[in-house]
């Protein structure tokens, strides 16, 4: 089994594991951020470039570094590979560039966006972005299109991660939405303005890392940090029925799938569970949900950022000492 070293920490993994998966096994303090990769979706990843890392040693036979930074989500580990992520200023700078690119045409309408508070782009911008923008042109806007009664598409916020396209492709048959046009005017759309009517269409809301696809039944009801997540289940003939209810007082405002530490859903849920069962009596309550670090709902959420930077610093110090002693 190949052994890989990421930021000075070694791990042995199954053949075929990507660098990102190996880093996630090591823990959140070395795992690169990912906006488009989704472990539950085949062929996802590679587009957003936020997870780029530098391979400083290819493998045990070939000690040369890879010439370019690579997308860790699509690069498989090899035995003896050495990777730098948070310890490399070059990688951090490149990632900062990617975050800037993702943000230059983003509307930054967080105050009126339903995703705010659980938005991966907010987290990414806070953890890896610059505090100001150098972009002083008009931002890109798209015309609004209606894609059905449940899902609200707000294309202007989209970062084109392709997750929703892959979800529709792999979860359902007869995908009716996809990417049209090219370059910086490429957009997610249904051709031509079909509404998405499908038992599992609601899952695109959960996979969307930003506020481009949101729940119409939850629109402007509450900020997410005012709602309390509770795990619950029901007997559903279509899906596992394991969901997360978001309470405000005693009302269920929203139903979503359960998400893990990395913000990925654990089980896909059907539209019945998501949109049509919003009474407490519909559900068997299991208890309060553990809250992932990817949520401002959890207190001291940004403590982890400090931890990551400190780990990097420490490792750099160790390296420096080694170099000095070598001299």
């Amino acid at each position: 089994m190949p052994k890989v070293t990421i930021d000075g920490r070694e791990i042995e993994v199954q053949k075929g594991t990507t660098i990102l998966q190996a880093a996630r096994m090591l823990g959140p303090d070395v795992a690169p951020p990912a906006m488009c990769y989704y472990s539950k979706l085949k062929t996802s990843g590679g587009y957003c470039r936020t997870c780029i890392v530098r391979v400083t040693k290819m493998n045990s036979q070939n000690p040369n570094p890879m010439p370019k930074p690579v997308a860790s989500c699509r690069t498989e580990v090899m035995d003896g590979m050495e990777v730098v992520n948070f310890t490399s200023p070059e990688v951090l700078e490149a990632r900062k560039g990617v975050v800037e690119f993702l943000l230059i045409n983003h509307p930054l309408d967080c105050p009126v966006c339903d995703q705010a508070g659980e938005c991966h782009l907010q987290d990414l911008g806070y953890e890896h972005g610059a505090s100001t923008t150098r972009y002083d042109f008009e931002r890109r806007e798209f015309d609004k299109i209606d894609i059905g009664p449940y899902v609200q598409l707000h294309m202007t916020r989209c970062i084109l991660c392709y997750r929703c396209v892959k979800t529709a492709d792999q979860l359902t048959d007869g995908r009716v939405h996809g990417v049209i046009n090219r370059g910086d005017v490429a957009e997610i759309s249904t051709y031509i303005q079909n509404s998405i009517e499908n038992e599992f269409s609601g899952n695109v809301i959960d996979v969307c890392p930003v506020g481009a696809l949101t729940d119409k039944t939850f629109r402007f009801k509450s900020r997410v940090w005012f709602t309390k997540p509770v795990d619950a289940h029901r007997n559903c003939t279509k899906c596992s029925g394991k969901v997360r209810l978001w309470f405000k007082g005693s009302d269920v405002l929203r139903v979503t799938a359960r998400k893990d530490q990395w913000g990925e859903v654990e089980d896909w849920i059907c539209n019945d569970c998501r949109f049509d069962h919003k009474k407490v009596s519909d559900w068997n309550i299991e208890g309060p949900s553990p809250i992932s670090h990817h949520s401002v709902i959890s207190q001291n959420h940004y403590e982890l950022v400090k931890l990551k930077l400190e780990t990097g610093k420490k490792l750099n110090e160790v390296k420096g000492k080694k170099k000095e002693s070598a001299k």
């Binding site: 587009y47 957003c48 150098r134 084109l160 370059g183 910086d184």
Partner: protein, 448 residues
């Protein structure tokens, strides 16, 4: 004029017809190849030292030997005729004048690779060339040069021409394959490389038009003879499409190793800079390679004369060198504006970015907007450093080379012509006097 291997009979009237082409030695290579074993052919190409003519210059023989050959899985050869690099028009010329040369090359190469179905993916805008090729292929089928049991050898080959929808990105081999399969032309993430999983997941070789055409003289004269032409690891001849401020723009076949100065000033080739003006800069290999100022294109940084070859043009890396690329030789004279020229290139890359990965999708548009601001006379002093920073954050961080291609011209223009950018920003009133000869949207007519 040096040795003409590809364009020798280009001026023969009716050479696009099969009988005329055969009368001038056409399909001799095919007859010879069919008597050989496929592996021997691959060996000949390896010996010839032929390198990919599409831009990257990867050794063709090596590329062919990487082709996976699993039992019972068909293999494919795809010809990349999606020539859309600004400044490059050699493949169009070759295909429209010598369609049978490409068809013969396709049959020879397909036989060497063991492919029974091959494709020519042609750029959508070249529809008239598509019809020329279709006609040539129909003639070849009728003469038994394509189809079942070619010339009684027992080898079968079907050859199809597929026009694209007109996207620059479909010249990238994996995007080309996606488009050929009928999908959106987005580059794939590699690995797997096309040699393992290409068209419909089958092992595939994608080669440029000129590369495939070059296999014909290689088979005719033998790999070793071919390797004697040229210089060092740049063997054979190369088609160069010259344009810009020169007296004789056009497509020229040169022996690799020809001095740049001779190519530029000799009456056999470009015939010197137009109107007796001084040379300012040259983009030596199509719009995406770094632009070089006059002194660096004629001699290397070490003071040696620069030659038209893969190595000599790349001498000095990107600091003082450039690339042979696809052979689009764009000449700018002293009256031309590097900044406006760059803006035009950047507009192109912005328009052609596929939008798949974020640095290229957002960065190309940003660079275009900043450059547009500069050429319109509203540039800010910090814009130059901003441009430099944007390009450095695109370069090498994208899925396919389009991101690199968009950032290299910007980097090289700033590296060698920073003063001109500063001039634009400091004295916007002078800009109106600068001419540029490209048709640009929203542009006023150049001052006569």
């Amino acid at each position: 004029m040096g040795k003409q291997l590809l364009l020798e009979h280009v001026n023969v009237p009716g050479i696009e017809k099969l009988d005329v082409y055969r009368a001038h030695g056409g399909y001799k290579a095919l007859e010879k190849a069919l008597r050989m074993k496929p592996d021997e052919l691959v060996e000949e190409v390896k010996k010839s030292g032929l390198r990919g003519r599409g831009g990257a210059g990867f050794p063709t023989g090596m590329k062919w030997s990487f082709l996976a050959k699993p039992e019972g899985v068909p293999r494919h050869l795809v010809c990349n005729a999606d020539e859309s690099e600004p400044g490059t028009f050699k493949d169009r010329y070759l295909m429209s004048h010598l369609p049978h040369l490409l068809v013969e090359g396709m049959i020879v190469s397909s036989f060497a690779l063991g492919a029974n179905t091959s494709y020519i993916y042609i750029r959508g805008e070249l529809l008239y060339v598509y019809h020329i090729l279709e006609k040539a292929i129909a003639e070849a089928y009728a003469a038994g040069l394509l189809g079942k049991n070619i010339l009684g050898s027992g080898y079968d080959l079907d050859l199809y021409v597929q026009p694209g929808g007109g996207a620059y990105i479909c010249g990238e081999e994996t995007a080309l394959i996606e488009s050929l399969e009928g999908k959106r032309g987005n580059p794939r993430i590699k690995p797997p490389f096309p040699a393992v999983a290409g068209v419909w997941g089958r092992p595939t070789v994608v080669n440029n038009v000129e590369t495939i055409a070059a296999t014909v003289p290689i088979v005719n004269m033998g790999g070793e003879e071919y390797a004697k032409i040229g210089i060092g690891k740049s063997t054979g001849t190369k088609l160069i499409s010259a344009c810009g401020h020169i007296n004789k723009p056009g497509v020229y076949e040169i022996e690799l190793g020809l001095p740049v100065e001779e190519f530029l000033n000799s009456d056999q080739y470009c015939g010197g800079v137009k109107n007796g003006r001084k040379l300012k800069a040259v983009v030596a290999g199509g719009s995406s390679v770094p632009i070089l100022p006059a002194d660096l294109i004629l001699t290397t940084a070490k003071g040696e004369p620069r030659l038209m070859s893969y190595e000599s043009l790349a001498d000095g890396g990107f600091q003082t060198g450039t690339m042979l690329g696809s052979g689009g030789f764009i000449v700018l004279d002293e009256t031309a504006s590097v900044v406006k020229n760059l803006w035009n290139f950047t507009r192109f890359y912005h328009h052609e970015s596929c939008g798949q990965c974020s640095p290229c999708r957002e960065g190309t548009g940003w660079m275009e907007k900043v450059l547009h601001r500069i050429v319109e006379g509203h540039g800010k002093p910090e814009d130059i450093d901003l441009l430099w920073d944007i390009q450095s954050k695109i370069d090498g961080k994208t899925i396919c080379p389009l991101g690199d291609a968009a950032s290299w011209p910007v980097a090289s223009a700033i590296r060698h012509f920073r003063a001109e950018f500063e001039e634009y920003i400091k004295h916007p009133e002078k800009i109106k006097d600068v001419k540029h000869y490209y048709s640009v949207r929203n542009q006023t007519a150049p001052v006569a």
